[in-house]
């Protein structure tokens, strides 16, 4: 405890001084992002106010001083330590010179975006059901919103970090928690529930941003009498899974919300839930002009028995396909598939394997069998990015196989995994890919096979630079056209958070959080110290957000 408190005390002193001198400016700039700012976020190159910058879910910046010619000079501007009890998955929100980030255990930090100085720190002690992880906060109307590991939705005063209200937002806190970054839309906060491996039924909810009161829920598993219910045998739908883990995309023009529902459960025992198990492993387009209504859905893996949920947050984009502009939505799943669908009707435009695939047609049995990818393989929860200037989609992936065993039965124990077996054990190599896919043809433009799983997501710049991070801590800038490595930096910690970018006083910054490997991406090689692009990587015990800029 002492170890963690001491730097905070020092930082608080600095913050006190900063606040004293900066007070008049902060008061003058007490305007907060509004519905209009969110809708126009793509044009705001200074701030980063939505999880993936704007509602499209595409991490793309068009006004940029960083280019293939000068990115090699990129240097560390500052870094700030974050509580390191778990992996960092936070996507920073930056507004008006302040950056808001979270730790795995729901601590919230407000940092000076220029210097990294701590403005305030909100500590939190949630009960952890299984994984400690948090993907960031939302900002609006003077409040910072966080959805927590113990199923609460909390509003903090954005100026001070003092809690304003705290409501229980999950229906069943014994098996449901939140990792998703809340998405502000109109007067609502949209949040998906993480309960898909603990015997819950997934849902996405809208809460009133003013007081945290529930406005609606949309359940991912159809109940009796609803279309799709017939895809579940017996009562299996009652603990059917379909968690809404990752980010969402929104088309504000048509009030369409794109979500991905996760794997069915018990994860590894399909025999007790015969059928396609809708809407698990599906992208669902919902009309949210009122109570949610399904516009269309596309199920990527019917009757999944390997926990291969579509982890990648949807990315809405307009690309040139066969010479004509087309509205598309991209998805990726842990089964190693990358999908491009028609955003209007969900029909498949492209489907590629981006990781080794093997043994996908058989269910895990009691003896155990090898299937690829491993449960944390394929395309992970930070997804990829589309660059209009090249008409290419950039997506990292994980290349692993696993040994899967079904237990033959599944017992529901409140608050514990509901799997019908154990999670698979890594079998064989653990590597990754970074790849560029031409949206005109659906073919690979380039593909790099890397020594480590790649889960850091992608940020593309209009000048033709693509950033991503690997589990070995390398933060890398690629040439969008050739795939050549233009720049890299060893954070010394596992990167499983997405890169972001913002600008202050005419200077552009690129930020990425990194920390311990956590449960899912610990690599057997880390303990020994393993060579990377720069030096070697050893199991990380600290966590930090690191920010880069041109010198």
């Amino acid at each position: 405890m002492l170890r963690r408190t001491a730097p905070v005390v020092v930082l608080t002193l600095i913050v006190g001084i900063t606040l004293f001198f900066a007070a008049p400016r902060l008061r003058a700039a007490s305007a907060w992002p509004t519905s209009e700012s969110y809708a126009g976020a793509a044009a705001d190159s200074a701030d980063w106010i939505l999880p993936a910058r704007d509602y499209s879910g595409n991490r793309y910046v068009s006004e940029t001083e960083i280019a293939p010619e000068n990115v090699a000079k990129l240097t560390k501007s500052w870094s700030a330590k974050i509580d390191a009890r778990g992996p960092l998955e936070t996507s920073p929100i930056v507004w008006n010179g302040t950056m808001y980030v979270t730790s795995s255990h729901n601590d919230v930090y407000a940092l000076d975006a220029k210097t990294g100085a701590l403005k305030w720190h909100f500590p939190y002690k949630p009960h952890v059901i299984a994984f400690s992880a948090n993907r960031g906060v939302a900002l609006g109307d003077g409040k910072v919103y966080e959805a927590t590991l113990d199923g609460h939705l909390i509003a903090l005063d954005a100026m001070t970090g003092k809690p304003l209200w705290n409501v229980v937002a999950a229906h069943d806190t014994t098996n449901t928690f939140f990792t998703m970054q809340p998405v502000p839309y109109k007067n609502m906060l949209l949040i998906g529930a993480s309960n898909g491996d603990w015997g819950g039924v997934g849902y996405v909810s809208a809460f009133n941003a003013a007081d945290g009161k529930r406005i609606w829920d949309w359940k991912t598993i159809p109940g009796p009498g609803e279309p799709g219910h017939e895809t579940w045998s017996g009562d299996s739908w009652k603990r059917g899974g379909g968690a809404v883990w990752s980010g969402v995309a929104i088309d504000p023009g048509s009030d369409t919300l794109y979500i991905d529902a996760g794997n069915p459960q018990p994860d590894f025992l399909g025999t007790i839930r015969k059928g396609a198990n809708l809407y698990t492993n599906s992208m669902v387009a919902l009309d949210i002009s009122g109570k949610p209504k399904i516009k269309w859905y596309h199920q990527f893996i019917p009757h999944d028995t390997h926990d291969w949920d579509p982890a990648m947050p949807p990315v809405l984009f307009e690309a040139t396909v066969g010479g004509a502009k087309r509205k598309l939505v991209a998805a990726g799943d842990k089964g190693g598939n990358f999908w491009v669908l028609d955003a209007g009707n969900g029909s498949v435009v492209y489907h590629l394997a981006v990781s080794t695939q093997k043994g996908q047609s058989s269910e895990p049995d009691r003896k155990g069998d090898i299937a690829c990818p491993n449960t944390n393989g394929g395309v992970e929860f930070n997804g990829g990015s589309y660059l209009p200037e090249t008409n290419d989609f950039y997506v990292p992936s994980v290349n692993q196989c696993g040994l899967w065993k079904s237990a033959g039965t599944a017992t529901y124990i409140t608050g514990q995994f509901y799997l019908g077996g154990g999670f698979p054990s890594l079998s064989g190599p653990s590597t990754g890919y970074m790849q560029a896919i031409d949206m005109g043809t659906g073919q690979f433009v380039w593909r790099k096979h890397l020594a480590y799983p790649q889960i850091g997501g992608a940020l593309s710049l209009s000048t033709g630079v693509v950033f991503t991070g690997g589990v070995n801590g390398d933060f890398t800038a690629y040439d969008a056209k050739s795939g050549a490595v233009l720049w890299h930096y060893a954070t010394g910690m596992t990167i499983q958070a997405p890169p972001t970018s913002y600008a202050l006083d005419g200077k552009q910054y690129v930020a990425v959080a990194a920390g311990p490997a956590g449960i899912n991406f610990a690599d057997p090689r880390f303990a020994k110290g393993t060579p990377t692009l720069e030096g070697s990587y050893k199991t990380a015990t600290s966590a930090a957000i690191t920010v880069f800029s041109m010198p």
Binding site: R85, G86, P87, S104, H127, V128, I129, A130, F131, S132, A133, T174, K405, A407, T411, I413, T414, G415, Q416, F417, L419, G421, G422, F423, S425, L426, P516, A517, G518, I519, A522, T539
Partner: protein, 405 residues
């Protein structure tokens, strides 16, 4: 000719003795251990009666069912518990089985009967939780489910006269240990034949026999008794208990301290695990090393969780209690799902060791018998809760340190 008719008649007499003990409004603290155990058993029976009455009856309306669950809960937990709602009345003695059991466990030191009473307490708490839930149910089916669970818990609280340890429950402790001896009654060495009657023959806290004067119909008897052998000897009737064989063995080796210890171990093995002493200290120490190698990365050196959840201490036990985890659930989760990245990869002995370490870290006391390598049916009856832990926590987080060898 078997002595069965005699035994039946004997039980009848006992029932009267019990009815007498349940009368009045006793203060548990001023009662001796024997009286508390008798009163606890009476309260358990009052609780069971409330449940059986509503289940066998044809009550119409939600209120009657809610009332029955409350009355059962009242009899079980007593006035001093938060769950007690006075307006529903109480067919127990007001102290509640829980009050009497707490008084029993409040006494200094541990006795042979302590594990049985600790086990009974764990099951009283589980039953209370089920009854509490029943008071809130809206569906008949759910309500009946809760009561069925409560009855299963209560059966374990009452226990069996033929068994010792945690399975014996209150009845077992009363029938086989020195808990049988009422205040003021004559307790003699159970190694020899009784020198007088009435008297209780006791060997190392085991009740070997009860000797009764043949002509005396007025002598009150201890709780229930499972009579294995009846010997008529002049003016005395000697009733040998289920524990008499063990007592005789102890007598035969009374001088050899080591062999007594060995017999103790044998006795524990025969009984299986009980809430106190589910594992051995060396096993927990070996488990500490297993934890360090395979678990610490996610669950933390202080067991409070890092990337994964906490696995010991106040926060863990509060969750365990809220989610109604039993020892069987803990074992299933660890053995089937852990280590997370390679489930099932430890040896059965390593799993047993690390479970011993977890129990020790949660302040469960060590005993003489190792934690087994296989699931045991009784694990489903051992509720995980801080109240079941008997060692005083050493850390702020409510964990107990296990020092590696």
């Amino acid at each position: 000719m078997s002595p069965r008719p005699f035994v039946f008649a004997f039980r009848f007499v006992l029932a009267f003795a019990l009815a007498g003990a349940a009368g009045g409004r006793p203060a548990a603290a001023s009662m001796d251990a024997h009286a508390n155990a008798i009163a606890a058993l009476a309260d358990v029976r009052a609780t069971v009666d409330e449940i059986v009455r509503i289940e066998d009856g044809f009550a119409v309306g939600h209120a009657a069912y809610v009332r029955a669950a409350h009355r059962a809960l009242n009899a079980l937990v007593g006035r001093r518990d938060d769950g007690y709602v006075a307006s529903f009345g109480d067919s127990g003695d007001g102290v509640g089985a829980l009050g009497h059991i707490d008084a029993l466990l409040d006494t200094e030191g541990t006795s042979l009967w302590t594990p049985a009473i600790e086990g009974a307490k764990a099951n009283v708490l589980a039953a209370a939780e089920n009854l509490q839930t029943a008071t809130r149910e809206r569906e008949m089916e759910e309500y009946q489910g809760d009561l069925t669970h409560a009855l299963a818990n209560l059966a374990l609280v009452a226990g069996r006269t033929s068994q010792g340890g945690v399975f014996g429950g209150l009845s077992g402790a009363l029938a086989n240990t020195s808990l049988a001896v009422p205040r003021g009654a004559a307790s003699v060495s159970g190694c020899g034949l009784p020198a007088r009657a009435p008297s209780y023959g006791v060997v190392s806290e085991r009740l070997a026999y009860v000797a009764l004067p043949r002509a005396d119909a007025a002598t009150k008897l201890p709780g229930e008794i499972d009579v294995r052998r009846v010997v008529v000897r002049g003016d005395e009737v000697v009733l040998y208990t289920a524990a008499s064989a063990e007592a005789a063995a102890l007598c035969a080796h009374a001088t050899a301290q080591r062999s007594t210890a060995r017999l103790e171990r044998t006795r524990h093995v025969a009984e299986g695990a009980h809430a106190a002493g589910l594992f051995t200290l060396p096993q927990a120490q070996a488990g500490a090393e297993v934890y360090r190698r395979y678990c610490i990365a996610c669950h933390g050196a202080d067991l409070q969780g890092t990337a994964g959840p906490g696995v010991a201490g106040t926060e863990f036990l509060t969750t365990a209690h809220a989610n109604r985890w039993h020892l069987s659930d803990l074992r299933t989760t660890v053995v089937e799902n852990m280590p997370f990245s390679n489930p099932g990869s430890l040896t059965p002995a390593q799993y047993a060791d690390v479970l011993a370490f977890l129990l020790a870290s949660n302040c469960y006391p060590a005993g003489a018998v190792p934690f087994p390598t296989a699931q045991r049916p009784q694990f489903a009856t051992i509720a995980l809760a801080s109240s079941a832990a008997t060692v005083r926590p050493k850390s702020k987080a409510g964990t107990c340190a296990v020092v590696p060898k």
